[in-house]
């Protein structure tokens, strides 16, 4: 049976090899972030500034989108606003048709995962090859990414060595440098023969029309410069007003993501090839996607659109660490996904995601933009609780609410608990309870209620 809830999906992965690999790597990334944060004395104030910029941009998004589109067009690029995934895919497929594209190479992009662009292009007869090492592995394995910046966080080097041996016919190795070299040899001719490069966009700069992408592999630079057509696909919220703001984002993004001061390749593309340029694409199309973001912008979760996709909230999340990214079901895993996915797509099928959190607050603590993820999770619970599959809480909490709002009922409730505690506890511990309370005792013991409540003791000993 296909798992349909977070709990079911999580239970498939908890305790597996995959979850263990995920936990180790998430903790490693988190530790690197901590080191990078500690050595940059202006980190906290830069985070404050980054938050201001992102919230300001969202508050004036219409204006900045217009400015960005004008800037791109002035440089000779095309801009297409797509209301949803279908419109975006149709547009990119049309461009591929116009340009006679048979092979497209892609650099890493979450938004193209979101709209399932590869499927659409392949259905139109265009071969699509992922060039980000992680995405390349995902594509070879027929798997799905499990992390925003590290798609194969759930795989070990040994897993990848076996995959390359089986799928690429090479000798087994689990040396990272050799695995890299294998992928490089495989991908290099593809870069050179591809007619279209498809990239994501880390940031669009409204005032200049520039597109910034950050990678550590150089594949992004090849994707956006070698093929004669470059299609950049971006969520409509991914803007900053001007180049100075972009520098602030660079100061926090790589540090938060991988603990680097700056990613190895920080690429800023401003328009297609100009006369006299030695390289660059002849044609540039920027596809700006809504796909539910307008709905988010007018919701209680609008702040989640300020996310810059560093993945720090995943790496620190106790839930993400033990379940991995696939349990979240959607494209965006972890705390950010638990807000973004239901906020974008609606409650149907996703209403239990806001419950996939202990509300420990570690995500907000590390978020470079200080996004109030726990607050939004709690608000989404209030909005989607009925459809979450946790409706059984309602009866119990309604009764509890009545009791806890009336001191006389509360006293009676505690007295009943004390009687129950005397009767049910063996050594003061309860090992088995019926119904949903079994969700506690199936997994750990429950202390029995006290045979005398605090208030009862107070009344006998202290009350005047």
């Amino acid at each position: 049976m296909t798992p349909v809830t977070f709990r079911e999906r999580a239970n498939l992965d908890i305790g597996t090899h995959k979850a263990a690999a995920n936990d180790v790597s998430a903790r490693r990334l988190h530790k690197k972030r901590a080191v990078a944060a500690a050595e940059f004395s202006a980190f906290e104030s830069t985070r404050d500034r980054a938050r201001e910029i992102r919230l300001h941009t969202l508050a004036h998004l219409d204006r900045y989108l217009g400015e960005f589109a004008d800037s791109v067009e002035r440089l000779g690029g095309n801009v297409f606003f797509a209301a949803d995934a279908a419109e975006a895919n149709e547009y990119v497929t049309r461009v591929a048709g116009e340009e006679g594209v048979s092979l497209a190479v892609k650099s890493k992009s979450m938004v193209t995962e979101e709209i399932e662009l590869n499927h659409a292009l392949e259905a139109a007869g265009v071969e699509v090859v992922e060039s980000d090492l992680g995405e390349f592995i995902v594509q070879l394995a027929g798997d799905r990414p499990s992390h925003i910046i590290a798609p194969v966080l759930h795989k070990t080097r040994q897993d990848i060595g076996s995959l390359f041996r089986d799928e690429l016919g090479v000798d087994y190795t689990d040396e990272a440098s050799e695995l890299n070299a294998i992928a490089r040899r495989h991908l290099r001719p593809i870069f050179l023969s591809a007619d279209m490069g498809i990239s994501g966009v880390n940031f669009g700069v409204a005032s200049t029309g520039s597109i910034a992408t950050v990678t550590n592999e150089g594949n992004g630079r090849l994707t956006t410069t070698a093929p004669r057509v470059h299609v950049a696909v971006m969520g409509m919220e991914r803007l900053v007003p001007n180049p100075a703001d972009l520098m602030v984002m660079f100061d926090v993004l790589a540090r938060s993501a991988t603990g680097q001061r700056l990613s190895v390749y920080t690429n800023i593309v401003t328009g297609p090839r100009r006369p006299g340029d030695p390289d660059g694409p002849e044609r540039l199309d920027v596809v700006i996607i809504d796909n539910g973001r307008s709905r988010v912008l007018s919701s209680s979760a609008s702040e989640i659109l300020a996310c810059i996709r560093c993945g720090a909230c995943l790496n620190v999340c106790p839930v993400y660490r033990v379940v991995g990214g696939h349990a979240y079901g959607g494209v965006y895993p972890g705390p950010v996904g638990s807000v973004l996915t239901p906020a974008m797509a609606g409650a149907e099928g996703w209403a239990d995601l806001p419950y996939a959190s202990t509300l420990c607050g570690a995500c907000q603590e590390v978020c470079p933009i200080r996004i109030e993820i726990p607050r939004m999770l709690a608000e989404l619970r209030a909005e989607m609780g009925k459809e979450s599959g946790f409706g059984w809480l309602r009866t119990g909490l309604a009764a509890y609410s009545r009791v806890a709002s009336h001191p006389v009922l509360w006293r009676a409730f505690l007295s009943a608990g004390a009687v129950f505690g005397k009767a049910a506890g063996r050594d003061g511990w309860i090992e088995r309870l019926p119904f949903h309370a079994g969700n506690w005792t199936d997994y750990r013991d429950l202390p029995a209620p006290a045979s005398e409540s605090f208030r009862s003791w107070w009344r006998k000993n202290r009350a005047t």
Partner: protein, 246 residues
């Protein structure tokens, strides 16, 4: 935040629902600690719960009803309201005023709420308590809401280290969640205990005999996990250890 050192004589104890019904020893220890500092402790008898279980589960009307009752009860009293729980204190300080925006009493109450260890260290200036209990080897778990939402920064550890007879061992990952998460613990029990297993590994590695915390809710989860696996390690509230009862 006022300096209560000179003016405190009377404090209100908001004991929390779990301490009231499940862990009255923690309430008694809290009373003893406060009285030892010269406080006159009052217990507003009509108090019930802060409403957090309903609030975190997304049932805001139910949470509002409980919170309104609690605010009304506490607003009739005077002086600091001491809470032996970072999580319930956080609820009263941050979420209840948001739930009851039209009730000025909610803000008045929020301004008076103090988490127990922060009250002792920051408001009363206590560093050494002169504990007289059996020697004990402990490790301290920093529960999330006190740590991140109230900004507690080692007050409990200061008190433990200044108390006599307490050997405190470092807890690896002390700032990591234990996996309790309120009703999360029964909504997604497998995830909850998978996180707990990591916490228990670190507790065991610390070499301590007692894991200490400032929230009985997390301790109920941690202690329940330790007991299920037959571990000799006990889970105790910081007030119990400081009062010499552990």
């Amino acid at each position: 935040m006022g300096d209560y050192r000179r003016i405190v004589s009377r404090v209100q104890l908001f004991v929390t629902c779990l301490v009231d019904g499940f862990f009255p020893d923690v309430g008694r220890a809290t009373v003893r600690l406060l009285e030892a500092q010269g406080c006159e402790v009052e217990f507003p008898v009509d108090q019930t719960c802060c409403g957090q279980p309903a609030f975190n589960a997304g049932y805001r009307d139910q949470a509002r009803s409980i919170a309104a009752h609690t605010v009304a009860v506490l607003d009739e009293t005077e002086g600091p309201i001491v809470v032996p729980s970072g999580s319930c204190a956080d609820m009263l300080v941050h979420h209840v005023p948001d739930l009851l925006p039209d009730d000025p009493a909610a803000r008045r109450v929020a301004d008076r709420v103090r988490e127990l260890t922060a009250f002792l260290v920051d408001d009363l200036g206590v560093e050494s308590l002169g504990r007289s209990g059996p020697d004990v080897c402990v490790t301290y778990h920093r529960s999330c809401h006190g740590l991140r939402n109230l900004g507690l920064s080692g007050q409990a550890e200061t008190l433990l280290d200044g108390a006599g007879g307490v050997d405190r061992r470092e807890l690896q990952g002390t700032e990591e969640c234990c996996g309790f998460g309120g009703l999360f613990s029964i909504e997604m029990p497998e995830v909850s205990v998978a996180i707990l297993e990591q916490k228990i590994e670190n507790i065991e590695a610390s070499g301590a005999d007692v894991v200490v915390g400032g929230d009985v809710s997390c301790l109920m989860h941690i202690g329940g996990g330790l007991h299920r696996k037959g571990s000799p390690i006990a889970a105790r509230h910081v007030a119990e250890v400081l009062a010499g009862e552990s």
